[in-house]
């Protein structure tokens, strides 16, 4: 009797278990790609009326400059016997991503030949348009490096625009 009841309960459970079944299906989405290492350079600050800071292409407008005039915004003016110097700083930040390098080399080069009698200097070194000048060989990532920026104008230089570009290049070590 007990056995019969047990069997009937088992059959009932089987019946209910059958009702509870559901269809299933599966699929797979595979994601692939390649993470590339990279570095970025931004101009964080510069003398003059500057635009584009925080990007890789900043512009600094010095306006009209002269030996006996006033210094442009963010610059100091020093008058020498035969020349005069505008002095400021340039802040450059280099950041890295997905890179194991611990420091970087930073160089600078003029975009075009400077006007006659005008010298562009960074960190005391005179820049040229023909070769890059090394500013640091052990730059620290993610911190803004401040580099002294001097524009030396000879008294003999013709009155004219001194427009130029300083091209910075960072290379990871």
């Amino acid at each position: 009797m007990k056995k019969m009841f047990g069997v009937s309960v088992a059959v009932m459970m089987l019946a209910f278990a059958s009702v509870a079944s559901a269809d299933t299906a599966s699929g797979t989405l595979t994601v692939t790609g390649t993470v590339e290492s990279s570095i970025s350079l931004t101009i964080e600050s510069a003398g003059g009326t500057t635009s584009g800071t925080g990007t890789a292409a900043a512009t600094s407008d010095l306006g009209n400059i002269s030996k006996f005039g006033s210094a442009p915004t963010g610059f100091t003016l020093a008058r020498g016997a035969s020349n005069w110097t505008l002095s400021s700083t340039v802040g450059v930040k280099v950041a890295k991503a997905n890179l194991t390098s611990t420091d970087y080399i930073l160089t600078a080069q003029l975009g075009s030949a400077p006007a006659s009698g005008v010298a562009w200097k960074l960190n005391g070194s005179t820049l040229s348009d023909s070769a890059a000048t090394t500013l640091t060989s052990t730059g620290t990532y993610a911190s803004t490096g401040s580099y002294s920026w001097d524009i030396v104008v000879a008294d003999s230089a013709a009155a004219a625009a001194i427009d130029n570009a300083i091209n910075f290049t960072a290379t990871s070590n």
Binding site: M1, M4, F5, V7, S8, V11, M12, L14, A15, S18, V19, S21, A22, D23, T24, A25, S26, G27, T28, L29, T30, V31, T32, G33, T34, V35, E36, S37, S38, S40, T42, G54, A95, K96, A97, N98, L99, T100
Partner: protein
């Protein structure tokens, strides 16, 4: 008493049999089975290659831009639950989980972080219609350069 129990047993067995038979009919013929199909959606940038229940999302080169602490990518794709025989009735639950990944990136599906634990993407997805989903991939700048690989397992179960 014994006779009564036998009768009860026979009744129960006979009551159970049609359900069993129905179940066999439901399970055996292919026209009743579910399947999951990936389809392109959203930007259709061509990075999704779908082949039925298998799909491949190729992110190509992942290079950091800007000053944020990570690289974020977003891809959209569609999923259609099909019932063989083109039947569109009913709903199904969609569950997804990270089956494998290399640790270079974090994945979010429809805003929900994906892990090895199953995540209910949609508890009542209509069979036969396409549901669009968003996969966000985030690579921290600290992650080492190299190949990126992950596998997302999907499962649909009829309600």
């Amino acid at each position: 008493m014994k006779r009564i129990m036998t009768a009860v047993l026979v009744l129960l067995v006979s009551a159970a049999l049609p359900i069993h038979a129905e179940r066999r009919r439901a399970a055996a013929p292919p026209e009743e089975t579910l399947s999951i199909v990936f389809v392109e959606a959203g930007s259709s940038d061509g990075s999704l290659k779908a082949a039925g229940s298998e799909a491949w999302l190729d992110l190509d080169a992942v290079s950091h831009q800007g000053s944020s602490r990570s690289t974020r990518l977003r891809r959209m794709f569609g999923i259609r639950i099909e019932r063989a025989g083109n039947a569109t009735a009913g709903t199904a639950a969609i569950v997804a989980r990270l089956e494998s990944w290399d640790g270079r990136a974090a994945y979010r599906l429809d805003g929900h972080p994906l892990t090895a634990a199953p995540f209910v993407v949609d508890a009542h997805a209509a069979v036969g219609t396409i549901t669009v989903h968003t996969l966000d991939i985030e690579v921290p700048i600290e992650a080492a350069a190299g190949p990126l690989s992950a596998s997302l397992a999907w499962e649909v179960t009829s309600n």
